[in-house]
């Protein structure tokens, strides 16, 4: 394999991994803190992409579209938390999984009735190619990677430097103890859901120019995103980053070796990791409830 192909493969993998990371981080936080599996985040990803499509058509700027997508993602997540999750926190994980799956496919129905079934293209906002070691690399993919790393940094700072973030970290360990200290955990839940929704919207918006936006796009990445969360360990931020890039590379480099492998290999890796270490790479076995 020549270096050019390899290098562009790596960049492709990193950019895909970045999208996976942005999606998975919210899911991972939601699971860690609330012990819910929030499949509806996949819907906010699609919403983010569609808002980006519509706004970029209306305003001529993809970036504004992405911003709109983030806002819509956050709002949708907020609404669902308020009206649905509030009623099901006490239930077990499978319950949230089924309920949010209902939201997901219901939302896909809404998307179909607003935007129709035809896949929509979103233009790439920067078509510049940057030369790295003799390989032309699309600048947009680099931007996606930078955004993901910046988000990781911001989340890290939020969780480690702000009191709300510290409360969220404490809550991932034991929600009841946090509540016992007089902290309104439901507000923490709401904040976490909004963060997750905004990041899902961001992921959808950033991904839109790289793919065709279609109603079932959320279902298409669902399996990959969950794989990222599971390989990384539910509730672990660092694990999510590592596994997102790992899965991105496997998808990308795998397809250079043998195309069908690209889709299958990550799942095989996930099975392997789960069977060897059922809590994922960085998952803590301490998590209770």
């Amino acid at each position: 394999m020549d270096t050019q192909l390899f290098l562009s493969g790596v960049i492709f993998g990193l950019s895909i991994g970045s999208i996976f990371f942005l999606m998975a981080i919210g899911l991972s936080l939601c699971f860690g803190l609330m012990r819910v599996i929030s499949l509806d985040q996949l819907l906010y990803y699609s919403i983010g992409a569609y808002i980006t499509y519509s706004l970029s058509l209306a305003l001529g700027s993809v970036w504004l579209g992405v911003l709109g997508g983030m806002i819509m993602g956050g709002l949708a997540s907020f609404a669902v938390e308020r009206f649905i999750f509030r009623r099901i926190y006490e239930r077990d994980v499978t319950f949230s999984m089924i309920t949010t799956f209902g939201i997901l496919i219901g939302g896909v129905g809404i998307i179909k009735s607003i935007w129709g079934l035809v896949p929509r293209p979103v233009p790439v906002p920067i078509s510049t190619q940057i030369d790295i070691a003799g390989t032309a690399v699309p600048a947009y993919r680099l931007i996606v990677i930078v955004v993901a790393i910046a988000v990781y940094g911001a989340i890290w700072l939020f969780l480690n430097r702000t009191i709300v973030g510290k409360a969220i970290r404490a809550g991932i360990e034991d929600v009841e103890h946090v509540e016992g200290l007089g902290i309104n955990v439901y507000r923490l839940f709401t904040i976490t859901f909004i963060i997750a929704g905004v990041l899902s919207g961001l992921a959808g918006g950033l991904h839109a120019p790289l793919i065709m936006v279609d109603p079932v796009m959320g279902l298409e990445v669902l399996a990959f995103v969950f794989m990222v969360v599971i390989i990384g360990g539910l509730g672990s931020i660092k694990g999510t980053l590592v596994s997102a890039f790992l899965v991105g590379q496997v998808v990308s480099l795998g397809s250079l070796v043998y195309a069908p492998l690209a889709q299958m290999a990550p799942f095989a890796i996930m099975l392997l990791i789960l069977l060897l270490k059922p809590t994922g790479l960085y998952g803590s076995p301490l998590l209770k409830r």
Binding site: T94, G102, V108, G109, K112, S113, A223, F226
Partner: protein, 320 residues
């Protein structure tokens, strides 16, 4: 004799009603309902009795379908034998992956099963494309020979056959639910530790339930293969991974007749709504959320107590 009749009354009545449905609705619809019900009962059993939610049922459906498909495409013509081969391959497959899967916590179990469905999908679509013909699928409708007695190569014959298979499957699950094993499954869902104290291994019970449920799914896969006369990777498409779960919830988790009611509602809605507004996901999705928030009893779970009350009222009146 009376006891046996009473025991059989439920399944017989259910399938008599399904047979009667044939008078009102097209054959294809009723057969679809029959096969899909069989497909779903395994999922319903896993969720309701063992507490395992599986987003990977298409994997087992596909194993059955491809088992039958390979036989009919490459080797033989007897559909009954094909069905048996599909059933056995489903059993062997479930037995092979089961020991690894049933150790997992229920949330991981759901996702790992989903992963399995995706792997099978790509396996059939790409990796094994030489034998599976990839996306085109295997077409073997003309290979299926007619059989003496009940000719399941013809739709009418297949319809009768599906009714009989369904009746057998339901009688079997009714028996299982009433058995010690069924009670143990329920116990393993509710309280793992206490079950261990009673001397029943959790692992063994879950494995048996897993194999049982997934072999049933494989049986449904085989039936699809014979009825449609072809198999393609579409059968294990990840996009359809949640269908059996949705139907299970719609019908009422863990109840014996929930899967039939759920399938009727789901298939009917899919048909009716897609004719009316062209997107049935909206209705199904929000119905699902509604059912979950309203106490997750499902259609049958809500109807059953009412039916029983009505029944006892009728009985009282007859007695008078």
């Amino acid at each position: 004799m009376i006891g046996a009749l009473k025991w059989w009354a439920g399944p017989l009545l259910a399938f008599a009603l399904l047979a009667a449905l044939r008078l009102l609705l097209p054959l294809a619809f009723v057969i679809e309902v029959l096969i899909f019900s069989i497909y779903t009962i395994g999922c319903s059993f896993l969720l309701g009795r063992v507490g395992f939610i599986s987003f990977g049922q298409p994997a087992y459906l596909a194993v059955g379908a491809y088992g039958t498909g390979f036989y009919l495409f490459y080797f033989g013509t007897n559909p009954y034998l094909g069905l048996l081969i599909g059933l056995v391959s489903g059993f062997v497959f479930a037995l092979a992956v089961g020991p690894l899967f049933v150790r997992l916590r229920s949330d991981y179990f759901a996702l790992v099963n989903l992963a399995l469905a995706v792997i099978i999908f790509y396996l059939m679509q790409k990796v094994l494309a030489d034998v599976t013909k990839g996306d085109n699928g295997l077409w073997f409708l003309t290979n299926i020979g007619s059989t003496p007695g009940l000719d399941i190569a013809r739709p009418e014959g297949f319809f009768v056959f599906s009714l009989l298979v369904g009746l057998a499957v339901w009688a079997f699950y009714k028996y299982v639910n009433d058995s010690v094993f069924g009670a143990c499954c329920l116990a393993s869902k509710l309280n793992e530790d206490k079950l261990k104290f009673l001397g029943y291994g959790n692992f063994g019970i879950r494995l048996m339930a897993f194999v049982l449920a997934n072999t049933t799914s494989a049986l449904a896969g085989s039936m699809y293969a014979i009825y449609l006369g072809f198999v393609s990777p579409e059968i294990t498409s990840p996009a359809r991974a949640a269908d059996p779960v949705v139907v299970t919830i719609l019908g009422g988790t863990g109840s014996l007749y929930g899967p039939i009611i759920g399938t009727l509602a789901y298939t009917g809605m899919k048909d009716a709504i897609s004719k009316l507004v062209g997107n049935w996901e909206l209705a199904i999705g929000f119905l699902l959320v509604f059912i979950m928030l309203a106490g997750e009893k499902g259609i049958w779970g809500t109807l059953e107590p009412r039916l029983q009350r009505a029944l006892s009222r009728v009985k009282a009146r007859v007695a008078r």
